[in-house]
Symmetry: C2
Subunit: 346 residues, 2 copies
Amino acid sequence: MKRPIPRPLDIKRGRVDLTHGSGGRNMAQLIDEMFRKAFSNPLLDAANDQAVFDAPKGRMVMTTDTFVISPIFFPGGNIGSLAVHGTVNDIAMGGAKPLYLTAGFVIEEGYPLADLKAIVDSMAAAAEEAGVQIVTGDTKVVEQGKGDGVFINTAGIGVVPDGVAPSGEKARPGDKILVNGTLGDHGVAVMSKRESLGFETEILSDSAALNGIVADMIAAAPGIRVLRDPTRGGLATVLNEIALQSDVGVTVREDDLPIRPEVKGACELLGLDPLYVANEGKLVAVVAPEDAASVLAAMKAHPLGKDAAIIGEINEDDHNFVQMVTGFGGSRIIDWLAGEQLPRIC
Amino acid sequence: MKRPIPRPLDIKRGRVDLTHGSGGRNMAQLIDEMFRKAFSNPLLDAANDQAVFDAPKGRMVMTTDTFVISPIFFPGGNIGSLAVHGTVNDIAMGGAKPLYLTAGFVIEEGYPLADLKAIVDSMAAAAEEAGVQIVTGDTKVVEQGKGDGVFINTAGIGVVPDGVAPSGEKARPGDKILVNGTLGDHGVAVMSKRESLGFETEILSDSAALNGIVADMIAAAPGIRVLRDPTRGGLATVLNEIALQSDVGVTVREDDLPIRPEVKGACELLGLDPLYVANEGKLVAVVAPEDAASVLAAMKAHPLGKDAAIIGEINEDDHNFVQMVTGFGGSRIIDWLAGEQLPRIC
């Protein structure tokens, strides 16, 4: 579509200003030269305020997540790739194949266009890799001091294969609990870049799209009971949610939890428990005991599951406690996170 | 679902703090006692990270919008009702019946829970009135000074009736242009509450859900060519977008534009042109000449269309100009908005 725009955006030196959110010519230019260029696909290119497409057959899922992570660029990713991974993963945790995402930006006045382009390019690459399209979007600009760089909301829809219906209330005593890899990497990677903390680590965020590994797991066992990604609040929070929703107890074994020594070390330094630290490329699966071996094998065969492990079981418990059997053979309650552990981790 | 929460939220005196966005117990409490209580429906109540439902038949639309309006409470509404109306309207402008919305909150630390409750209650009432369900959501909290009260993203999906496919590129020379009522009310109502401006008016925002009137218009003429809501950038921006997308020109008649005298007066005072001022309960329709009378009659029969009018025509124009025939018989170009007119109007 032609536009009455005289000069291209100065992406190298330019900054976002309030006119980029005003609905006029400058907003049209930012959308054309920044967002449509990176995300181009037939649905988005139609340039209406909504994307139109044929409804899929069967059941669908719909989800939303806003990303306010600080810092915006972190080891292993940035808010753009994270915003795609996070919503793709929420769709995948419904057992669904992700189809379409929306993208809503809140940008602080003065934000460098070069940084915005790096974010948008990461989103485009992450969407391409996950096999989803960003089909419609929205851009708002707020005055300096009324935001913090860039916040991104992504909402998404996906289609659920027949016979697949994982849900938080389906865990049954005897079921096995699996994770696809090491815990706490994302949270530690992000914290290492917070100026106030002053520690260094080589740990990268695990931010990744899990729809591929989930498809393989479902192929191995369509009846997976629960799938959930342990983001904010970490593994501990997800296990407590499942215990409550399914009205069961949970037991995990400390020795079976995959945690990198560097993450353990950083958590000790910071006074954090890695079980409460956020992940962005991890999932927790609850499966019937007879499915555990085949699901584990499917996970280990996928690049995002090579450190997959069976970490515990579901048991009967009227109190819905999550317990951890420690390396010394004792046990302790893994309670709900009471206060704030890691603000703005996603 | 039971939750291990000892004391209810102190909605009267409490404030949002960072723990409400941490993924732990306090976030679970805020979601249960604030959001689920207000928005309750079977899809949301399932309490997973995604809503699951049967796919509709036919074509669907998907849309997103983030709301950063300042002030958060304004004459005729607040950010909550606006967030529902805005996304319902974007769906309706695709000719679709809205089905489900998502809601993503970014809340500044320290925001009063009582104000949040007022916003959430308005969202629930607006959703109820529009016949849509809020089926999933997300809550983030940012530190004081890193946000501005509350930002809300709503994304939504809807289903398009067979044979209906309005789109920005479908305007043809000879087509008639209609609006459903007075222009500029929302922008002027919001500006009247900006402290720095210091003028008073009795004007209320027109914020409203347009899916009902659109359904009536489609029943009168399923072949409506273009539907668009003149929000940010106002009527002038929408007409310029349509002219470009359809590669046509637009002529409107100043005397036929419904604008309240108080809005005209306020715009003169502020040095604004009401054609560029935002609306949140208005639509622009482009229809074939033979459909104009029946669509106008359908609009006028609806409470949100009693001031509906035919305001102009589509014509051939290689320059895609939007022109206004003035009351004195002259004509002027209604150009794209070049700078920022009204920041954070939605």
